[in-house]
Symmetry: D2
């Protein structure tokens, strides 16, 4: 029997939104089991989290180092860490794990700054260990179907990309744990909306098209009175093949929930997908045909088909998409190919995107190169 892989979580303590999500995603396919965690630097809180996750109390640690040491001393210690702590902890957490020879799966963003991301890229290369980034939306089966079809020429040469990520939950005063850090430059970094969700749209656009963004023009705004970080973003894009693009992200669009979506047009067709209705992909062709491709259905290619757990008509969603990334990471740990899992390259490009967009907008710089 191939045993379950053992995961240690870094972060994800009481009140965390994303920690429990990672736990569900990691364990969904029974490839992986949460066995340990450095959930908080406060021992009491870390123990409380361990209790919530129902793990062995002895394996709820109060620091990353303690976890790495404690697990190394066990016969059945952790196989990898999942980093879900605040952004500025991503680098130290990953650094410590890699130094201990432990692979890393990290929540996005890769790090707090581009410089940190570059440092981490070097560490990963030197360590020669698996490293993955949970750009969740690239785990949706129909996102992968879109990618595969575009790569196979279904819409011809990509000419135009529209990617949007509307939300409305920060349209008022930011209240609550999840909101407060996102509007605080000390905790969120340079970017607000652009770093929180704009970067998801950016990564998705590159993921689905297989094309790199080479230039951008950014217009970031802070709409809510008194807000210091951007909460509404428009970024014009140019891709490596000359394709034109637009990226819209906002957290002040009242009534929008989590509306990540893309429309991609080539010279022979077009495609559209939206995260809130993730089980259909629209495909149009230049002869006037409009097709709806259904998740789990018979029209899917092998990658998308393999990432459904239920027959067509049984909706899968965000958690299952997230679990597909863990499945990919588990495959990598077992020495199998899982090339679609976002990793260092996505991380570096994403951090460069945030840094470039923030500086270009602040300086009203017009079109600037996105170098990485």
């Amino acid at each position: 029997m191939t045993r379950r892989l053992r995961m240690g979580m870094i972060g994800g303590g009481p009140g965390s939104f994303i920690g429990p999500i990672h736990r569900i995603a990691a364990e969904m396919d029974r490839e992986i089991e949460l066995v340990a965690g450095a959930f908080s630097s406060d021992p009491v809180r870390s123990a409380a989290a361990g209790q919530t996750y129902r793990i062995d109390p002895a394996r709820a640690y109060a620091s990353v180092d303690a976890m790495l040491a404690g697990e190394a001393a066990r016969d059945e210690g952790i196989d990898f860490v999942a980093v879900v702590s605040p952004n500025h902890h991503h680098l130290p957490a990953a650094r410590a794990a890699l130094a201990a020879g432990i692979p890393v799966l990290s929540d996005k963003p890769m790090t707090a700054t581009l410089a940190e991301a570059q440092e981490l890229a070097g560490l990963v290369a030197a360590a020669g260990l698996p490293y993955g980034l949970t750009y969740t939306y690239s785990g949706y089966p129909l996102v992968r179907e879109a990618r595969a079809r575009i790569a196979a020429g279904a819409i011809g040469t990509v000419r135009k990309v529209v990617v949007e990520y509307p939300q409305g939950w920060l349209a008022g005063e930011a209240a609550g744990k999840q909101a407060e850090w996102r509007v605080d430059p000390a905790r969120a970094g340079l970017g607000g909306c652009i770093g929180d969700i704009g970067v998801h749209a950016f990564q998705l656009a590159e993921f689905v098209t297989g094309l790199a963004v080479t230039e951008l023009l950014a217009d970031l705004g802070a709409v809510v009175p008194g807000r210091q970080l951007d909460d509404d973003c428009t970024v014009l894009l140019r891709f490596a093949n000359g394709a034109r693009g637009v990226l819209l992200a906002s957290q002040i669009e009242v009534g929008e929930r989590n509306g990540l979506r893309f429309r991609i047009y080539g010279d022979k067709g077009g495609m559209a997908w939206a995260q809130e209705r993730p089980n259909t992909l629209t495909v149009n062709t230049a002869d006037g045909r409009s097709e709806i491709v259904h998740a789990g259905g018979s029209q899917l290619g092998p990658d998308a088909a393999a990432r459904s757990r239920t027959p067509t008509g049984h909706p899968e969603g965000y958690l299952e998409a997230f679990a597909n990334l863990y499945r990919d990471f588990a495959a990598q740990l077992r020495g199998e190919a899982a090339p679609l899992l976002p990793g260092i390259a996505d991380g570096l490009r994403s951090m460069a995107f945030i840094a470039t967009a923030v500086s270009a907008s602040r300086d009203r710089a017009g079109w600037v190169a996105l170098d990485i």
Copy 2:
């Protein structure tokens, strides 16, 4: 720490569709852990399943009795069984578990026949143990929201119910393990479509309205040439308060996937929900207002709100709905109230529905009472 509950699975061997679904659902909230199974009566196949599920090889048994005995002998034996074997095994499996003092969560239908269901109802009553039935669709948060709102009078007195369950996958020759048993009277029982999916629609109609069906008129047909069991069903309904209803279920509607849905109308409003777009509920009122209620959103009542794992805009689906039933069952095992989990009453009524519909249609009996 409240430990995870330990589950033994009965059925769910190689090639099973529903076994892995139960496993994911059971473990999603880390309330429960799959630790043992009598996955098949063939020892080799049971062992293979155990390996797929990554459980301890010693706990993959070749019979229910072996599992019950083996687990009873362990300090950390199973806390309950999940019955996912073919329909005619449901009664013996549940009987054995109950005799061993083990609670039962069973896939629908309760048993193969109404007589068996009545026997099982007696056994459960005598044992005084928790018993649940996974009528999955009653686990959707917005189904519960609809139920709660209707109970609170949001649409006034219910007058009309339309519940539909269209599928198309049995429109041709039934091929493959999942299809073949469903069209074979020896394995599926008296009912084909009516027992496989019509009964889901029936249970959902009663669950959401809180009203019992008291009379029905059934017209079941076998559309595919040569088919012995019904594959297309129309059933007219009357509810206890006089409300009129229609239940449509079919497995020969080409292009339909898993289209369970309901529309319920009262004298003050109406509601509509569809399983393939489960994250919205439409609510109309007699003054002309049309509202869309979103899963995870701020307009939800407590029960629906508590059954979302992610914020609004992050689609949850079939597996999460299923997991809500396991969460309810775990609560019952821990001595907490979870009154919405379907159980004996739903099971008996559902079996009576199937039996009554089949006989009434065969006899062209017109309106008949649904007694139970």
Copy 3:
């Protein structure tokens, strides 16, 4: 120049809903011009209507006979009449026109009773004049596209038909001119909902499939307390080729507007269309493909294409569908073929449907033949 055809309207006086609709539809393509009317038997009201329609005051008559005589005396008298008066006037109006050698386009229903319809059928046959019935929904381009594709075998042999017509506007006390006559047996005839809208669903089902209903089982109810006529109808259908069908019509489903729709399934595919979103037709095939056919688009056959006035993406609706029937009738008057315009056969079958459904439901007769 081929001149515009001259129309005289019978009925459509002050407060009429359908009169102005007919006027718009008739004139939309400039094939026809409203020039005269017997809008009301009250001379003052007929004159007022004429003023509203902005016709020559001398041509607003107070009786059908006066109009027929007056127009016959003119060089440029009317070419046909449009009958839009209450149902029990349909026969005398048509009889008078035919006797005067004037073709008739009539609003549905054909007459107030089946016996009257049979009389009218004889009169039309004897007169040898064009007669059309405005079953509006058969004028939608995508309804015709569905009909043409089904006739061409796109979904194989039709096996199942679901046709629905939900409305909610009579869920409360019937108030206002439009509501009051519909719930009054003296004015509406034997059928309430079944005659007002159920018959539209019936005609549409036969129109699109090209199949005749041969048997039915009707369950008509009067849901609103005190109502004498049916306001909620379920009718099971069998078609000439053995296909199964269900017809649902209701006027008490709060929140529904004018939701006429159909889903038709064959052994090779399925189709769905809904009047409230009339510019798309969904076509599914047994290999799992789902196609959206767009009004005005390049995938349409000749009949549907010829019945769009604007390019794809410019929504056309109810009035344009209605105008397509007038276009057909004008073609007939000019001696051209327009075989899809509903006429005597549709009228007779529809009246038989109403009569049969009402009596079968009243008598709880079970399955009965639909003879005509």
Copy 4:
């Protein structure tokens, strides 16, 4: 009786798309009648058009001047002209009509250039005659409902506007009369997509919000190889109150038909509407409620309610929206208020928008003021 107003058409000869549309729209409410036309400068073609429209052959003229003279000589000459000729004819046509004391309703754009528009504005002011511009989409009832609700504060202070107009029909080689002139700088003017459809989006954004655009940043591209005019446009906007905006228009997005739509967000709510589904308006509020407002329904304000011809659930579309503008213009001619009909101010602002966007994009000028 208030007689029908008499319209003379300028342009709209054989092969014209928009001429017949104007004719249908003008006559839909029987306020107006097409009686004359200078359909083409070729007498044969003008006569042919007159025959198609079924007007008196004597009133199909070969020049605007001939029509104005001929009609002036009649007792029942035209009351106004509808200008539907190519863009560069708009000014001379309007100038001639105004000089003859004849009011003008013109298709957009107002003129071929901003300078011409300014000249025309002066002529209209001097003449003191009604002048309207058919920015069609502002005639939709739910667009007016959105405007009225926003003006009444339903979404609070407008903060963000996203307006889009995707089309795909010029993604390939431009073939056919309608396509060819649009990609030819000699006939279309400076702007391609921006002038053809981008300007509709611009006008709609200002119309619905009641706010003027004060600054813009334009990025216009010519995507199809060899194309001289823009076919894909992104324009960032700032409104007078500081609100941020984005305007996307494209004619190379394969599979898009006529997807004009807007989403407008304030500090208290948001609204969304799309031309291809024009009979619903989505309204969200900051407390999490989502409402669907239906055309023709009871939730509408007076202006929107007055612009529906059928009850809710009977789809109205593009032609009915267009007809609402003619109804407004007829009201103006009769001396009644119809303040929502677009006119000189919309025309000037639109022409300035096109000119500014084209020059700013060509010069990569960044943010520029939109002065008018």
